[in-house]
């Protein structure tokens, strides 16, 4: 803003800018004089990003090294990555990550869309508001809390779900220690937490739809479902596409906090994902190099996915992720 006003000042005195032939240094000093307050404002943030996000990137070099008590460390190239590729545990972890992410995409992703569509059908604003204020709440709870709630709800002896199962005359299921059901526990706890909140974006897109479209559809004799099919869904398709792509982009980065609070030794092999694996072998058993290699691998795949997602979203809908 100051540049523009200074141009104005100059122009009041006629057409002079070309008379001032500044060297590079002078121009630099002038620019510094004008902008230093803003650089000062940037400083805390830049220092933060440097320490918390860039220094770790530099530290990540230990993925290619053998740590030694007496420095320097020994460069071993891709040895740790090779070790990962031939480790059955890591491959299982990779497989688990893919399975859980796909399950979440298939079973959790569509739910908020349906919720938003249902909310839009409600003709009493009061009822809709109450529903909305309740279903947004779980999004604000930590995974420690949701883990605790999930364990309580699914308890074989006094959990709500098993109370219903026994009441219907079936045997209670120990969901939290059952290898067959634990992944579904992950899926449904994710749904409990995010289905409501995520519907907000779709709902915002729906109320932005031009009402004339609905009026035109009504004149054509469209019923509720036809309006949803031919007006609402096509109108929110860009939002759906963007969020779907974003979810694909975050494919490998979901669930550390969640899994850590739902896991236990009995079923760990079913839901051990890359993040929990990195945490366990790195920070708990001290295999720093191997864990860093696994984390870095995840970081690279994640980067490729999210950049691809951004480009895809930009091309499809004209709106990127950031």
């Amino acid at each position: 803003m100051s540049t523009i006003s200074e141009h104005k000042k100059i122009s009041q005195y006629g057409n002079v800018p070309n008379l001032v032939q500044d060297g590079l240094v002078e121009r630099w000093v002038r620019s510094a004089k004008r902008w230093w307050p803003f650089y000062l404002m940037l400083a805390p943030g830049i220092i933060y990003f440097f320490v918390y996000h860039y220094m770790p990137i530099w530290e990540a070099r230990i993925a290619f090294e053998q740590l030694r008590i007496i420095p320097p460390n020994v460069w071993v190239g891709l040895q740790h990555f090779a070790a990962l590729a031939s480790s059955p545990i890591f491959l299982q972890v990779l497989l688990n990550t893919v399975i859980i992410s796909v399950m979440k995409l298939v079973f959790v992703f569509p739910v908020p869309i349906i919720v938003a569509l249902l909310l839009n059908e409600v003709r009493t604003p009061g009822y809709r508001k109450i529903v909305q204020s309740v279903i947004y709440l779980p999004h604000y709870l930590s995974w420690v809390v949701i883990g605790g709630i999930t364990i309580a709800v699914l308890s074989p002896t006094d959990g709500a779900v098993n109370d219903i199962i026994s009441w219907m005359g079936f045997q209670p299921v120990p969901f939290m220690t059952d290898a067959g059901s634990i992944r579904w526990v992950v899926v449904f706890s994710e749904m409990w937490r995010s289905a409501g909140w995520d519907s907000l974006l779709y709902f915002a897109a729906i109320i932005g739809i031009n009402p004339e479209l609905y009026e035109a559809a009504e004149i054509d004799g469209a019923g509720r479902w036809q309006k949803i099919r031919h007006v609402t869904i096509p109108s929110i398709a860009p939002t759906i596409a963007t969020l779907f792509i974003l979810n694909v982009g975050l494919f490998f980065s979901t669930g550390l906090d969640q899994i850590l609070n739902l896991t236990n030794p009995v079923i760990r092999s079913q839901i051990d994902i890359v993040d929990t694996y990195v945490y366990r072998i790195g920070l708990q058993t001290g295999q720093f190099e191997l864990a860093t290699a696994a984390g870095l691998l995840k970081g690279f795949v994640g980067m490729v996915l999210i950049v691809a997602a951004h480009l895809a979203s930009k091309r499809l809908t004209g709106k990127g992720i950031w």
């Binding site: 605790g148 790195g282 696994a294």
Partner: protein, 299 residues
């Protein structure tokens, strides 16, 4: 609305089904929370046989709450969590606002590079182990600051704020400049009052992030005295460590505390951790509905 009068019976049934589906969602969301609240206020003797479906206390007793409130680990956890949350959020708001205001200057030399510098951190995450090494190297292990400064500036919120600041009418900024305001004064007297509610909204998000954070606290704070409430809760609920809550003496003497079922203690602990969030939740809703509504009008 016009169609209401000529709804067919089939459409009316449909409508009832839609309302019921949403009601079911409300019940599924609230029941588990209300149940835990009910358990925490129930008579401890009756808790072991209580159905998981109940949302009304069986009997009434404050024994669980009494125990929790006087428990040293819980008290410390609460104080730590409040400290981390408030100091952290204050730093977040100041650092994010300053950075966003500077980056909202479209002509700032190097702006593009700084934006890329920030975006890279969204895209690439080298993982937790290098992070741990950095914390060790800068001497923040076992320090509150390793947790407080985490997400000092959250890239997503920064981007939101930059976009909002860019929309502040140019005339306001020009007027401030004519009055001789420096960039700091313009920020404080013009931008902050205009963008008050957006800054408050982002502050609330940061507040929730800090309150809910457990992973960093868990790996960086070795000293249990520094643990925030979430880590204390996790130790107890997820790891099932009753001893740390009740204390050795009460466990072995089968005193009051030893007798309270672990189920009731867990329920109370979870309720306690949720309570502050539930208190600020109406504020979040207020800011949020406002934000999305204006977004919808624009979009």
């Amino acid at each position: 609305m016009v169609t209401n009068s000529r709804q067919t019976p089939f459409e009316r049934i449909e409508y009832v089904i839609i309302l019921s589906a949403l009601l079911l969602m409300v019940v599924v969301t609230l029941q588990p929370i209300l149940h835990l609240v009910a358990v925490s206020f129930s008579d401890p003797a009756r808790v072991p046989t209580m159905s998981g479906l109940r949302i009304v206390p069986e009997g009434f007793s404050l024994k669980v709450w009494n125990l929790l409130i006087h428990n040293a680990a819980v008290q410390r956890g609460f104080v730590n969590a409040v400290f981390i949350t408030f100091v952290g959020t204050a730093i977040n708001i100041v650092a994010t606002t300053l950075m966003a205001w500077a980056l909202a200057q479209k002509r700032l030399p190097g702006r593009k590079y700084i934006l890329v510098f920030v975006l890279v951190t969204i895209v690439f995450d080298p993982g937790i182990v290098p992070d741990f090494f950095v914390m060790r190297d800068v001497g923040l292990l076992n320090s509150y600051w390793s947790v407080i400064l985490y997400r000092g500036v959250f890239a997503w919120y920064l981007i939101i704020l930059i976009r909002l600041f860019e929309e502040v009418p140019y005339e306001l900024l020009e007027a401030a400049e004519l009055d001789g305001a420096n960039p700091f004064q313009t920020l404080w007297y013009v931008i902050v009052p205009v963008a008050k509610s957006s800054i408050a909204m982002i502050g609330l998000f940061y507040l929730v992030l800090h309150w809910n954070e457990f992973f960093r606290a868990m790996i960086y704070l070795n000293d249990p005295n520094k643990w925030p409430l979430q880590v204390v809760l996790r130790q107890f609920v997820v790891e099932g460590d009753k001893l740390s809550m009740v204390g050795v003496s009460d466990m072995s003497t089968y005193s009051d505390a030893g007798q309270i079922s672990i189920r009731a203690l867990k329920a109370g602990m979870i309720t306690l951790t949720i309570a502050p969030l539930v208190l600020i939740y109406p504020l979040i809703l207020k800011f949020f509905t406002k934000g999305t509504m204006s977004g919808a009008v624009k979009g």
